[in-house]
Structure formats: C-alpha cells, structure tokens
C-alpha cells in the first residue's frame, strides 16, 4: 500500500546513490519537483532512463548527478539542443556520461516488457539504421513460426520510477489523464515508485471505468506537490510553459548561468515553491 509522505521523505526513502532511475512523462506530467528534490538531496552516480530527456535531465546531468543515461531523444522540444547534455557528451563536463541510445519504439516496448515481466521486447525496428552498430543492447529474435527476424531489446526494470499525476486518493490510488505516455509501464516495471500529485482527494472519481488508474498497492510513495510538473503541465490543472522551454536555451548554454540558476531555483528552493505555478493559469476543463 502506498505511503502518503512528503516529497523529501519519498525521495529519501526510495532513491539511492547508484540507482537506475526513470523519471517519465512524455512532454506532459514531467516530475520536475521530484527531480529537483533528487538534486537537493545530493544523489549521485545515478543511471538515468527516459525516452525524452528534456530540461529535467539536462539539469540532473549538468549538476553531475548522473553516471549514465538510456534514452531515445535528447533535445529541448521545438527549441533545439540540451546544452548540458551536449557538454557532458562532447566535453565530459562536469563528468563523462555513459549513454545507451534507442529509438522511441524500442524504449516504449522495453518499458512495456518490463511491466509485463518479460526479459526482452520484440519489435519491427531499426531496419537499415546505424544504432544497432553502436548499441550492443540491440539484438534480434527469430519468429519460431514464420522465420522472420525481428529486433529485440532488453526490458527496462528501473530501481525506482518517478512520475507526476493529477490526483490520488487517501489510499494512494492514482489517476493519470491526457497524454499518459509510458508512465504506467514505467511504474509497473520498477522495483519502487514515487508519484507526486497535484492534489490528494477523498474520492478518486475517474471519469470512465477504463481511466488510467494505478492502484495504491502498486505504488511505493505518494507525495502531494501542486505545480510539481512545471514547466511541463498537468492536463486539467495548468498548461505547459512553452516560454520556459524557450528561455531555458539561453540559461543552459553557459555553465555559469546554469549553475547560478540551479543554486537559486533548486538548491535554495523547496517543493512548495512549485505551488505558485499550479495557480498561474486557470485549470482547463478535463
């Protein structure tokens, strides 16, 4: 049964130095507040997993918290490069970053296989592409019925997965709505999980019997952090700050301005500071 705790407790209880950590959210519901708490608690040597390492992983890489990263698209969506990621790969600053690179399809299937407790995923993928030449974790399987050869990748099984969601009830049952990405799979594939939510309510009231719900007994810790997905967004609560994403390009381009930003907005800040973003825009009808 999920424990409902503070964000500091959730991260303290579940994220350990050296862990393989997946913070997921496909553009929507990215767990920024939780990622900042990981930085504040000084976790190190993390192996980060994420389909689209955007600004949050740029920050974790930039502060030197990561020893490696498994990913499929490492850019600032619609804006350009992740400068801290590039600095780590191109110049090993602040430390070298071991990378394992896949396609989106492979990563999505690998999470799905992890949730399904399979050791590998099969896909029609990577045909004619160069990634299999540089990534030994892309292999093949042969269909025992047709003889077709398909791509195979290992299942993703994080030590801990961290996601953000709209709401939870007091038993820790979690509702996720809108662009749901790979969050369900990432949580079910992991040994432990943290879910930050906009609000904790008495009754979950999913709008449909088929809504995406994670039951409390499949989640380790739940923490209420209103605004915790900012500058990403929470469908029904507040929109994406595209302006922040555009502005990040300038901040992250330079090591000093990045470091100053982290000190002011992460190290000297606290989870409650995200609450102001939850309220900056009227909630859009779900």
């Amino acid at each position: 049964m999920a424990k409902i705790v503070s964000l500091a407790e959730a991260v303290g209880d579940n994220v350990r130095d050296g862990d393989t950590v997946a913070m997921e959210g496909f553009t929507h519901l990215i767990p920024y507040a939780a990622g900042h708490e990981v930085i504040r608690q000084g976790r190190k040597d993390l192996y980060l997993v994420r389909m689209t390492p955007d600004i949050l992983y740029d920050q974790l890489i930039g502060v030197g918290a990561a020893r490696g990263m498994k990913f499929s698209w490492g850019g600032n969506p619609g804006v350009g490069s992740l400068h801290r990621f590039r600095d780590a790969v191109e110049n090993q600053w602040p430390r070298p970053l071991e990378i394992e690179e896949h396609s989106h399809a492979a990563m999505a299937n690998a999470y799905e296989a992890g949730a399904a407790n399979l050791p590998f995923a099969t896909l029609r993928g990577y045909i004619g592409a160069d990634l299999p030449k540089v990534n030994p974790n892309i292999k093949s399987v042969t269909c025992p019925f047709t003889g077709e050869v398909l791509a195979a990748v290992p299942a993703i099984r994080p030590d801990v997965t961290i996601i953000h969601a709209q709401r939870a009830d007091r038993k820790g049952n979690v509702l996720i709505e809108g662009i749901v990405g790979v969050q369900k799979e990432a949580v079910l594939a992991a040994k432990r999980s943290i879910v930050t939510v906009e609000e904790i309510v008495d009754e979950l009231n999913p709008p449909s019997p088929n809504s995406l719900v994670l039951p409390g007994w499949a989640v380790t810790s739940v923490a209420q952090v209103p605004g915790g997905a900012f500058p990403s967004y929470a469908h029904g609560y507040y929109p994406r700050s595209n302006a922040f994403y555009i502005g990040w390009d300038e901040i992250a381009r330079d090591r000093d301005s990045f470091t100053a930003w982290i000190k002011e907005n992460v190290l000297d800040a606290k989870p409650e500071d995200f609450a102001k973003h939850a309220g900056t825009k009227p909630a859009r009808a779900a």
């Binding site: 499929s72 490492g74 850019g75 396609s103 399809a105 029609r124 045909i127 077709e148 662009i179 302006a243």
Partner: protein, 260 residues
C-alpha cells in the same frame, strides 16, 4: 500570391500532397504546419497523429512540443506511447509519416544523431526519437528540409533512419513492404526518388528559383528529372491559413513569459 517566403512555399507544397484519406504521423515544425494547413484547406477530414499518443487531433495553434496539451484537448482520443508505437505505427495504420533531420543523403537516408564519430561526436544532436520505425512502418514518407550544402551531404556520418539505403531495391531486400521516402520538399524545390535508382531528383522548382541555386545549395551533384515543372505558387487561401496559424502559435507560445 507572389509575396511569400521560401519556408512558406515549402510548407504549402508539403500540405498539398496530403488528402482527406491520409492518416499522418506528424512531426514538430514544418510537418506540423503543413498537416494543419492541409486540414484547414483542402483536406478537412485528414487524420493527424502525434507520437505522444494523440489521434485525430485538430490543434488551433501548432504545438511547440510533440505533446502539448492542445493536441490532447482537440484529439478524438489519446493512447499510451507503447500503444501508439505498437498498434498504430507498427500496426501499419499510418499512411504518411513526416521526417526531417540535420542531414540527408541522395537516397533520403537521414542523420539526426551525431556529427563526427559516434563515440566522440563533434556535435551531439538530439537523436532519432521515433524516426527509425516511422521510416520503415509508415506507408510512405515525406521529408521537409531547407536545401543547403550542410544539410544535403554526399555521405552521412550516421544513418539515424533509413530511406532508400544504398538505392535500388534495398528496402525490398531488407523485407520492408512500405514505400519509404516518396518526396522531399525543400524551400527551393521538390525532389522525388528516381523510379529505378531511388536517387533523389528534382521534379518541381519553386517560383523564382533557378537550377543554379539548387545545384549550389546541394552537397552532391544533384540531378534533374527529364520533365521538371514549376511548383504552383501559394494561393491566397493557403498563405492566409498558414500565416494565421503561425500568428496564433507565436502568440500562444510567448504568452506565458513570466515563466522563465
């Protein structure tokens, strides 16, 4: 309408190639603009899908990211990302996929991964994302890229997604049943693969562009088809539609300046 930019011409030329029956896997940027111009002009029933899981979406402003809330708010339905890649893309349900990249070669292979060696890149680009499987699983691929010597290169340092490989029937030999890139729409001209060799060849030149400009801006010795036509210039409706959606988009994306 004779007053338009090369990028506007590129986007509109891409939009024209789409029809009501298309189910498009849309990328961010020019493809997103092209698909939505098609939807708002001649193809109101076109189905637009973004890899974030949104199906049948009708955004009023173009998304900055592949998963902006606008896409979900206006979609017929939204599925998980594993389902998107398994049932819809790999399932063979997409008629047309859009791709772009930092670099392309004469067989429409694309690089969005690295410049320089993979292990010690000179420039680390974002990577492939959905491209490797979009390239192989969609019925056909349209590519939009501005023509430039830096982008249209003799040899790619890295093949992120395969187009026609080394040309000829290589796709078929690798077991693919889809057509691959059938059209590359640039800001100066439209290229299509030669039916035999699959080498990209100029088939249509945008109004006011010369063959010399095209040759000068391509990194390989580009060929012209036997019959090259002039791309019809944008109509007033096309141009107004594109400019309106771009204006709405700019306003929406900069409207939350307090953020950063």
């Amino acid at each position: 309408m004779s007053d338009f930019t090369p990028t506007e011409m590129m986007t509109i030329a891409a939009a024209r190639a789409l029809s009501n029956d298309d189910v498009c896997f849309v990328g961010i940027g020019a493809p997103s603009a092209a698909c939505n111009v098609a939807r708002l002009t001649h193809a109101p029933d076109i189905t637009l899908i973004y890899e974030s899981g949104t199906v049948g979406t009708k955004p009023d402003v173009l998304p900055l990211s592949i998963g902006d809330g606008e896409l979900c708010d206006t979609a017929l339905f939204t599925v998980s990302v594993p389902e998107m890649f398994r049932y819809w893309l790999q399932g063979g349900r997409i008629t047309t996929g859009f791709l772009g990249g930092a670099q392309i070669d004469r067989f429409a292979n694309l690089n969005t991964t690295v410049v320089g060696p993979y292990d010690h890149p000179k420039v680390r680009l974002p990577g492939g994302g959905g491209a490797p499987e979009i390239a192989s699983n969609c019925g056909r691929i349209f590519i939009t890229m501005a023509l430039s010597k830096r982008g249209f290169v003799e040899k790619l340092p890295f093949i992120t997604s395969m187009g026609h490989g080394e040309g000829g029937d290589q796709r078929e030999r690798l077991g693919m049943k889809t057509k691959g890139p059938t059209r590359v729409i640039t800001d100066l001209c439209i290229l299509e693969p030669d039916p035999e060799t699959k080498e990209l060849t100029v088939v249509s030149i945008h109004p006011g562009v010369t063959r010399e400009q095209i040759v000068e801006n391509c990194g390989w010795a580009i060929k012209f088809a036997a019959h090259v036509i002039e791309t019809p210039e944008p109509t007033e409706l096309e141009l107004t539609t594109l400019r309106d959606i771009n204006a709405r988009t700019k306003k929406a994306h900069q409207g939350d300046k307090e953020a950063a």
